[in-house]
């Protein structure tokens, strides 16, 4: 069930969504993939259309990591469009080490009960039973995440059979299209979680956008060769080249700590932003969270950005990303 039905979204989609001043041009949106057929007289649950559709509703929003119901309420009051329930934020996973796993379902349920916005939770890469458990407790979105310790070094979860949608991280176009091929309805940059350093998220977003720009001018023969080269399914690469964007919603994640970081990722073409450790490891989480929410809406308005960036207290302590990084490079997990 729920194999993506490729129903290209009608309108011509020019100009790559990149850079400033895009609010007046034709927007580039990920196509709808509803299960619509002419003669349906029944309803259908868990289609790729409703899975990718929820991601479309989250666009222009901020998804915040929270570790308990109290933080979830702070995030909701600050305008988060969803929360990510987890036991430890990535900065603490780095500091404490050990194997990081799916959170206690009881804690996740407390967060679900505390807020009205969608609740996401993380599973280890390849751990489909953790995913089955999260689906059973009625979570809204699953993040198959490199922030947790991978359970399978070879395989990701086959995400098509699940009714609950999945988001996955990617560092480049090939990785993103492989995840979509496995059933991910939503992609985010991997960045380098728990560092408060945006450099890797920028690298991944620029890599994806740059590869898409190159693919968009290629002939079909060249696309076949590129598909082989980046190990991506040809049909998804071809659709991406035609749309000039990923065929699903694409958020920034990993190292975002300030409103300016968030606006930077939006101007680089992201549809929204995940913030992990950056909020609850800062001096004034409620204020910083609200400022980042506003920054994602007004990312093209430097005047508003300057106002909301004022007086936010201390940002989280950032880490330099090199070989001595405690906890290692999470982004290289699960390719």
């Amino acid at each position: 069930m729920a194999t993506p039905v490729h129903t290209p979204g009608g309108s011509p989609l020019p100009v790559p969504h990149h850079g400033v001043g895009n609010s007046t041009g034709t927007p580039v949106v990920a196509p709808t993939r509803s299960a619509h057929t002419k003669d349906v007289a029944s309803s259908s649950l868990g289609t790729f259309g409703v899975k990718s559709g929820l991601a479309q509703m989250l666009k222009g929003g901020v998804i915040m990591d929270v570790v308990n119901a109290e933080q979830a309420r702070i995030a909701e009051e600050a305008g988060a469009c969803a929360v990510m329930a987890l036991e430890r934020v990535p900065a603490d996973i780095r500091a404490q080490g050990g194997v990081a796993r799916m959170s206690d379902p009881k804690m996740i349920k407390e967060i679900v009960d505390a807020v009205t916005i969608p609740v996401m939770a993380k599973v280890r890469i390849g751990h489909f039973v953790e995913a089955q458990i999260l689906q059973a407790i009625g979570i809204d979105y699953i993040d198959e995440s490199e922030v947790l310790t991978p359970a399978d070094n070879e395989h990701h979860i086959n995400k098509h059979p699940f009714k609950v949608p999945f988001v996955c991280g990617a560092r480049n176009l090939g990785e993103a299209l492989r995840r979509i091929s496995e059933g991910a309805a939503f992609i985010r940059t991997k960045g380098e979680a728990g560092t408060g350093n945006v450099v890797e998220a920028v690298r991944h977003q620029r890599a994806v956008m740059g590869e898409i720009r190159k693919a968009s001018v290629m002939s079909e023969e060249e696309l076949y060769a590129l598909a082989k080269d980046i190990q991506a399914p040809f049909h998804l690469l071809k659709e991406t080249a035609r749309l000039k964007r990923l065929p699903v919603v694409n958020f920034a994640a990993g190292g975002i700590a300030t409103p300016a970081d968030a606006a930077l990722m939006m101007q680089l073409g992201c549809d929204g932003v995940f913030v992990g450790s950056g909020i609850f490891h800062s001096g004034d989480p409620a204020k910083r969270a609200r400022a980042i929410v506003q920054a994602v809406t007004h990312y093209n308005n430097p005047k508003i950005l300057s106002e909301i960036s004022e007086d936010l207290g201390e940002a989280m302590v950032g880490l330099t990303i090199d070989d001595s990084l405690k906890g290692g490079r999470m982004a290289s997990r699960g390719m």
Partner: protein, 242 residues
């Protein structure tokens, strides 16, 4: 006052672009082929709103959109806007148009109170209860062809109330109960949910100049609802002002 004699004039249709699926509405409006040219305005500030003849509030998270509207100083202007100009709310937008809401976040949330209904958030359950279903819609072009309804954590209408302005509520579409997800939570199974007056099956309605849908026409490739809004709400309201 026949259509043919009206000189075509540009229609300035705003889309509230604070959070959510506003770009999808923009794509749909651009595909409309009407006598009037449509100028699309993405509304993020009071100055943007002041240019609009009508407004679409998209799907997204209603708590987030309400908060961003307040922080951008848009709430009071929106309350003024609704008194004379048409607004269409889809999903989260439908919640914001309502008079009262259940299952709101602790402490409640701001509403525009433009349509006299009570509504509940996530009426059918969490994301795994999100569904697609064909709908019969009154008054759409080619109305014999069903409109494909995409319901994502959709709100459910609980009651139709009497409006202070006395405007009647016109029901445009109901979902047949046989198409509801079997595990949905609002209508208990031991209750007679076949009563045609049951408000919980109403998924699209119009009151005065305002339009409300609990599903997402902007996620389809079918622009008949956008055409309906422009021809049944926006153009008639211009005439009222003329």
């Amino acid at each position: 006052m026949s259509d043919e004699q009206e000189p075509p004039r540009d229609l300035n249709v705003g889309i509230l672009a604070l959070q959510g699926a506003f770009a999808e509405h923009q794509v749909m409006l651009k595909k409309l082929n009407l006598r009037h040219r449509i100028v699309i305005i993405l509304v993020r500030t009071q100055e943007d709103l002041a240019k609009c003849d009508a407004l679409i509030i998209p799907g997204g998270e209603s708590t987030t959109i309400a908060l961003l509207a307040r922080l951008a100083g848009l709430l009071d202007p929106l309350h003024e806007f609704k008194k004379t100009k048409p607004i269409w709310g889809t999903c989260a937008g439908a919640i914001l148009l309502a008079e009262s809401v259940e299952n709101a976040k602790k402490g409640g949330q701001e509403l525009l109170n433009a349509i006299s209904i009570s509504i509940t958030r996530n009426g059918w359950g969490s994301q795994i209860e999100s569904f697609e279903a064909p709908l019969e819609v009154e008054g759409l072009r080619e109305s014999e062809r069903p409109f494909h309804g995409i319901f994502i954590r959709a709100p459910v209408i609980l009651s139709l109330n009497t409006s202070l302005t006395g405007e009647p509520i016109q029901i445009i579409s109901r979902i047949s109960t046989g198409l509801l997800p079997s595990s949905q939570t609002v209508v208990p199974t031991d209750e007679d949910d076949t009563d045609p007056r049951d408000p919980r099956t109403i998924v699209a309605l119009k009151q005065g100049r305002h339009l409300l849908t609990t599903f997402h026409p902007e996620l389809t490739k079918d622009n008949r609802f956008h055409e309906y809004f422009v021809t049944q709400c926006v153009i008639p309201s211009l005439r009222d002002h003329a």
